[in-house]
């Protein structure tokens, strides 16, 4: 009954077979395209799928003082990062995280918003978590997809001294800078030395990051090592040795505590800076990792300007300390016989204008030597009348005032050394007069110097004309070879055009400033140590005069040059000289008399 004739024709059969064959052919062609033609592309994607490159951060080099005491070290910090996309998918993600980190959920969400970089990009929500928190995070890892922690080396500052301005700090590299230095292997998010030594010696301190190749599954969980790729170990940065003597530095910082000002101690022969203080400063620990913007803003907006490095950036009138320049000019150019005396009645009249000496009743009759010891203004007014500004500026220029010292710190100011073109430019030709000259000779007027320039000047006086480049980098130890490499600074220039007799004259006068009964710098006298010095009291429009003291002392094979500046500290013979005495005293007791020239050694 149902054995009916099948009316399918061979056309039907062939049609179906042809259709099937065609569709199979399409699949075959597609497979050929995927597996043969595009093989390389897909193999690459598959490879990228399975391999995650984990960056091993490279610790920066350690910074030591000249005696091998650690100033800046590294420590490990665990930070918590999350990928918003992953955590958002998890209903209890934020509350669990809040519970573990002990941070309110709203605060976590605030940080997510603040540090937002994109839905799929990890952002930081907590720093420096303790070990317990870390353990809990690790235990509950599978409940918290998209949450991870990273180990990052950060800076730590174990030393007693702050040394904040010198050390500088690290900062996350910004986009513009990244463009410039991309070729050096920096990547977005890297920390880079931004100020101070960290910036100046970036290439030495910086380590080389390593890479671990990890095989991950689709959930991003590590499932093993990659067989055919070798991990690259991260390399430490080189250790840096500074010229700083950390004990002296800490002591000097303590002396200037609660004051505003700067103090510098430099080896006059080599330019090595043993101590450099700028107060007020800040704790370098604030900058150990990535700086929170509120901390940063607080520092920036502080009226006391703690970020401002008074020692190298601050420019001040040098006051009477600058009279030495006129002394040398007079002696060399035979402007006035040193024995010629000038009577000081406390005031000098120029036309109708009166120029006062600091001692109102006057110094009486003074020769050049006495005028230096007593810092008599009237003598120098008289002297400078016989000089033109260019001559004076030439002598000041021999000490490179108005120029950068080329210290190995970022952001140095160059100050102002007014010469004729400068005055012409500022006041117009003929717009300035003898009065400007009178101000300049006592270190006032348009003249501006940095404490760093002053310490170099002091060093030149101490060494009879050697102008060393002040610096803080002593040497570094090459990582791996452990070989010490000393930094080469341009050898000190000598001021040859000044005769020995003039140097000696100044030296004797500076000795008497400190050691004679009438010397203005008597407060700097140290028993058992020959201290040479000059005080300065710089009038300024902002309030009480700045107190200056420059001085040096020789003992053993060392010549130490010191500059102290106390903003609004009053007379230079007072606060600045006292501070200088304390520093000299400390050096006398604590510094080795001989500098040990470090040999290139292998440790």
């Amino acid at each position: 009954m149902f054995y009916l004739q099948n009316n399918a024709t061979s056309l039907h059969r062939n049609l179906l077979i042809l259709g099937v064959f065609t569709l199979f052919l399409i699949l075959g062609i597609r497979l050929y395209q995927l597996q043969i033609v595009d093989y390389k592309r897909f193999a690459g994607i598959a490879e990228a799928n399975r391999i995650r490159v984990v960056t091993q951060p490279a610790p920066r080099g350690i910074i030591y003082d000249r005696n091998g005491q650690i100033i800046v070290d590294n420590k490990s910090q665990y930070n918590v990062n999350l990928i918003p996309f992953e955590v958002d998918k998890n209903d209890s993600g934020y509350s669990l995280l809040s519970h573990i980190l002990n941070i309110p959920e709203s605060e976590i969400r605030r940080r997510v918003k603040k540090n937002w970089r994109g839905r799929f990009l990890p952002l930081r929500i907590a720093e420096d978590i303790d070990f317990e928190t870390l353990t809990e995070l690790e235990e509950r890892r599978f409940e918290l997809p998209g949450v991870m922690y990273s180990l990052e080396p950060i800076r730590s500052f174990p030393s007693r001294a702050n040394l904040s301005h010198v050390l500088g700090y690290l900062r996350e590299i910004n986009k513009e800078d990244l463009q410039m230095i991309k070729n050096y292997g920096y990547r977005s998010g890297d920390l880079i030395g931004w100020k101070g030594v960290e910036r100046e010696y970036e290439s030495i301190l910086r380590g080389k990051r390593g890479f671990d190749y990890v095989q991950v599954n689709v959930y991003g969980q590590e499932v093993g090592k990659v067989r055919d790729r070798h991990n690259v170990e991260s390399q430490f940065g080189n250790d840096l040795y500074l010229t700083i003597d950390i004990g002296l530095q800490a002591y000097a910082e303590q002396l200037l505590e609660d004051k505003k000002g700067a103090a510098i101690v430099m080896d006059a022969k080599t330019g090595e800076i043993l101590a450099i203080v700028s107060k007020p400063d800040y704790s370098p620990g604030l900058f150990s990792g990535i700086v929170e913007s509120d901390v940063w803003n607080e520092l920036l907006n502080d009226a006391e300007r703690p970020l401002y490095d008074r020692a190298i950036q601050g420019t001040y009138p040098p006051g009477s300390t600058f009279k030495i320049v006129a002394v040398l000019a007079s002696l060399e150019e035979n402007i006035l016989d040193p024995e010629t005396t000038v009577r000081c009645r406390g005031v000098y009249k120029l036309g109708r204008r009166e120029f006062k000496c600091w001692k109102e009743i006057g110094h009486g009759r003074m020769n050049l030597f006495d005028a230096v010891v007593n810092s008599c203004n009237v003598y120098f007014y008289t002297l400078v009348r016989k000089m033109d500004v260019s001559l004076w500026a030439t002598y000041a220029g021999k000490f490179r005032f108005g120029e950068l010292t080329k210290v190995d710190l970022y952001g140095e100011s160059q100050g102002i050394l007014p010469d004729e073109p400068f005055l012409d430019n500022k006041y117009g030709k003929g717009g300035w007069s003898e009065g400007n000259k009178l101000n300049l000779v006592i270190g006032q007027g348009d003249l501006l110097v940095t404490p760093l320039q002053m310490v170099r000047f002091t060093g030149a006086l101490a060494t009879h004309g050697k102008l060393a480049t002040p610096h803080l980098g002593l040497e570094y130890m090459e990582h791996g070879t452990n070989r010490f490499q000393r930094f080469a600074f341009s050898s000190a220039d000598s001021i040859r055009s000044i005769s020995a007799s003039s140097w000696e004259f100044v030296e004797k006068a500076m000795y008497d400033v400190v050691n004679s009964k009438t010397g203005t710098g008597r407060a700097a006298k140290v028993r058992g140590l020959d201290v040479y010095g000059k005080t300065g009291t710089a009038q300024n429009p902002h309030g009480e005069a700045h107190s200056w003291f420059i001085g040096y002392s020789k003992y053993g094979n060392r010549t130490l040059a010191i500059t102290v500046l106390i903003e609004h500290g009053g007379s230079g013979g007072g606060e600045a000289a006292v501070t200088a005495r304390q520093i000299f005293s400390y050096c006398q007791k604590n510094l080795p008399k001989e500098t040990d020239v470090k040999e290139v050694t292998v440790r």
Partner: protein, 411 residues
């Protein structure tokens, strides 16, 4: 008589070849499942590969069990079986387990049945029964209505589960059977036209090209002019209305339709599964990465790897050579089924074999086209290779049905 014996023996030769091909495909599937089982710490029969082997054995047993069925019984009861099947497919809506929040499963003791898989066979039998009716005039357009309704009813039910893949199979399997029965290609074109109109309407250029094709076909169809105009206007307005209606739908309604076309809800955004599948296949290259070395597979980048995407595992681990072998085996299987259907003298038997051929072929084509990114993901398994109890048993049942029907005469 002599001739019929010859035919019979050549059919039985074909059947041996079909059995061999099925066996080789099962081996290929087990080889791919072996990879998926590599890292599972469990006894053999708890692993995917072990369970699959058990299902296959069960499949072979049911395949022999179906030999007890008389063809006459099948022919006479075709519509009764069909309605019983419909009842079974509807049943999960009331008693089913809501595995994966779909109403596909029917729990019977330890077994989870998917009645919709077996329903395919019942649709084949019912359609074949209708098309072999002695008073049927196949060249008449009206003869197409009943087979289409027989397919559309379970299609609608399954679509609501939602199981887009299976419902597409119900719809598609009818067309080769109609062609085989001698229906006019033009009629089939008219039936498919509204579907194409709706799909192409979402893109202006595709709709434009479709309208051109429509005009050309209608012009050459020798159709009465007013019928041609009605058909044209109907399809055209359908195309214009679709975007309008779509935009008037509420977003949740749109979403409901969208999920229908994206049954394996895509967790990581559009096309993730297809991309990972293509990466797996593409990175396999000519010879593949070797058993157990497929990183896409073992690092779980490849989704549904023992199920809908098993072909990608073969592509990754056995390479172009491996997939071409599998593709060739499927082509052989389909061709053998067509040749068996061709040689069967009896219209009903022949149509059942074509129905089986259609189901297997559309499964193979849609599944592989999906893994290589030629078709959207609809969630159809690959016959004899994909893991899954109901499906593998239904595949064996279909092959068993072919053996039974083609050897009936000799018994």
């Amino acid at each position: 008589m002599r001739k019929s014996i010859q035919i019979g023996s050549s059919i039985s030769n074909s059947n041996y070849l079909i059995a061999l091909t099925v066996f080789l495909l099962c081996v290929a599937g087990l080889m791919a499942l072996y990879s998926a089982s590599l890292h599972v710490e469990a006894s053999f029969f708890k692993k995917v590969i072990g369970k699959q082997l058990l299902w296959m054995i069960l499949g072979v047993i049911t395949m022999f069990a179906i030999f007890l069925l008389q063809k006459k019984f099948l022919f006479d009861g075709a519509f009764i079986f069909y309605w019983i099947g419909i009842a079974m497919v509807v049943l999960p809506y009331f008693f089913g387990s809501s595995a994966a929040s779909t109403n596909r499963w029917f729990v019977l003791g330890p077994f989870h049945f998917q009645p919709s898989e077996f329903m395919k066979i019942l649709v084949i039998v019912a359609v074949a029964r209708y098309l072999s009716g002695s008073d049927l005039i196949i060249s008449d357009f009206k003869s197409l209505i009943m087979p289409l309704l027989l397919a559309l009813l379970p299609m609608g039910i399954v679509l609501k589960q939602p199981d887009l893949g299976t419902s597409i199979i119900y719809f598609m399997l009818v067309f080769p059977m109609l062609i085989w029965a001698g229906a006019r290609i033009y009629h089939l074109f008219i039936v498919l036209a509204p579907v194409i109109s709706i799909i192409t309407a979402f893109n202006f250029y595709s709709f434009f090209i479709w309208v051109l094709i429509l005009i050309v076909v209608l012009y050459f169809s020798k159709e009465r002019i007013w019928v041609a105009i009605i058909l044209f206007v109907f399809n055209l307005s359908l195309g214009f209305l679709t975007p309008v209606l779509w935009n008037r739908l509420k977003p949740y309604q749109q979403n409901r339709i969208m999920t229908l076309f994206n049954v394996n809800a895509d967790p990581l955004g559009s096309g993730y599964q297809v991309i990972q599948s293509q990466v797996a296949i593409g990175s396999g290259g000519l010879f593949g990465k070797g058993i157990g070395n497929g990183t896409q597979t073992h690092l779980k980048f490849l989704p549904e790897q023992h199920n809908d995407f098993i072909f990608s595992v073969i592509g990754e681990e056995y390479g172009f050579v491996g997939v071409i072998v599998v593709l060739f085996l499927f082509f052989i299987l389909i061709s053998l089924l067509i040749s068996v259907a061709y040689r069967l003298r009896d219209r009903f038997s022949s149509l059942v074999v074509i129905g089986v051929m259609s189901v297997l072929f559309f499964h193979v084509f849609i599944n592989i086209a999906m893994t290589v990114g030629l078709l959207p993901v609809t969630g159809l398994p690959l016959p004899f290779l994909s893991y899954g109890g109901s499906f593998i048993i239904s595949c064996f049942l279909m092959v068993g049905l072919v053996f039974n029907i083609s050897l009936e005469r000799r018994r």
